[in-house]
Symmetry: C2
Subunit: 192 residues, 2 copies
DNA sequence: ACACTAATGGCACCGAGCGCCATAAAGATA
DNA sequence: TATCTTTATGGCGCTCGGTGCCATTAGTGT
């Protein structure tokens, strides 16, 4: 319970705050881990104990939110059509408080507009897709490794990213509306 | 048309062949660019003139095939429903000669099973998605940057990757069949 | 023989990332 | 108070991907 040992010198939140400021000022690629460490007032080596890689910094504590995502899916009524249940869960997962820090828009813009982070995102999102695959598999009596559950996970991710791109491209738009429109338009496209 | 200047010391194909052999022997991560250069008998610096990065080696001359993909789409009859036209084009794009070298299966297994390459693939496939977006935009009288064309590109990619994963997981399966099944099962999923 | 051209490859450098380990700073114990 | 234990820090040195610079090589054309 008590806090033995040397106390921590920083925190994920502090590093994140400093890093986002620097990224905004100079751009992601132009900021080195040494820069961030100096600004935080901590050793470079220590940064790598808080974040596995520079690419992981913009993601913050994404992993932790997956439990919430699982919970949202678990709450879905079983009589709701599968595709609707998934769609609603994706919508709810992407409700973010307007005052989050750093701002959700800034975080997503960084991730979606920086090539190195676009690439890295496929690794970070693997677990998110698995959450969907698990749910779909459960509803259909399949394994999460079967093709359909995995496909639904991948396609849901592709749709969500498309919606985010639209959101970032149009400052006045509403993310929830775009997510819904994107999913509906895919249905129309496939059904025509 | 004559060939002035110092003659080339190697070729994309030779580098690719050597690299694939080493990757198979030791695994992608355990092979350094210096290893490949030594085996090819060329300077390390030269490798980076043939391939932008180590991650690009497994992709070979992927860019060149995009013109073929564009041509396939351009040939599609206009009265074919849009989703069917795209589906058929994706199928045809993924017809590979059985004797390609390195084998298509080995290439895709490397790309889809190596985390660093999974991540990098999102950058390589951006142009592929754009080809689809251009076609969809043309058929619908939209811009290629609009949401629906981009969404169709992303979703088509997600489906193709799912199909490839299934293909690699089941040695006896047929890629063309799996591609078709994956696309059809998504329609069922969304329509239920 | 001499100019021209284009590819090579060595060298030095940067930045991410990691293993190793000495050290700092706290609580616990005597 | 002095010592022990625990835990985080951070410096050092290394590997590897990647790049800019530039001298050198090996051809073709005159």
């Amino acid at each position: 319970m008590s806090s033995r040992g040397r106390p921590v010198a920083t925190s994920h939140a502090q590093i994140e705050a400093v890093a986002f400021r620097l990224f905004a000022e100079r751009g992601f690629d132009a900021v080195t881990m040494a820069d961030i460490a100096a600004e935080v007032g901590v050793g470079r080596r220590t940064l790598f104990r808080y974040f596995e890689s520079k690419n992981d910094i913009p993601w913050g504590q994404f992993d932790r939110t997956l439990d919430g995502f699982r919970a949202i899916l678990a709450e879905s009524p079983d009589d709701l059509p599968l595709a609707d249940a998934v769609q609603r869960a994706v919508l709810r997962f992407n409700e973010y408080p307007a005052d989050s820090d750093p701002p959700h828009e800034q975080r997503m813009r960084l991730i979606l507009e920086t090539p190195a982070l676009q690439a890295h995102s496929v690794l970070r999102y693997a677990d998110w897709r698995d959450v969907i695959a698990e749910y779909v598999a459960g509803r259909l009596g399949l394994q999460a490794t079967d093709t359909l559950p995995r496909t639904v996970g991948s396609v849901s991710l592709a749709l969500a990213i498309s919606a985010y791109e639209g959101w970032l491209a149009d400052p006045g738009s509403d993310l929830q509306t775009l997510l819904e429109e994107t999913m509906t338009s895919l249905r129309d496209y496939l059904a025509d």
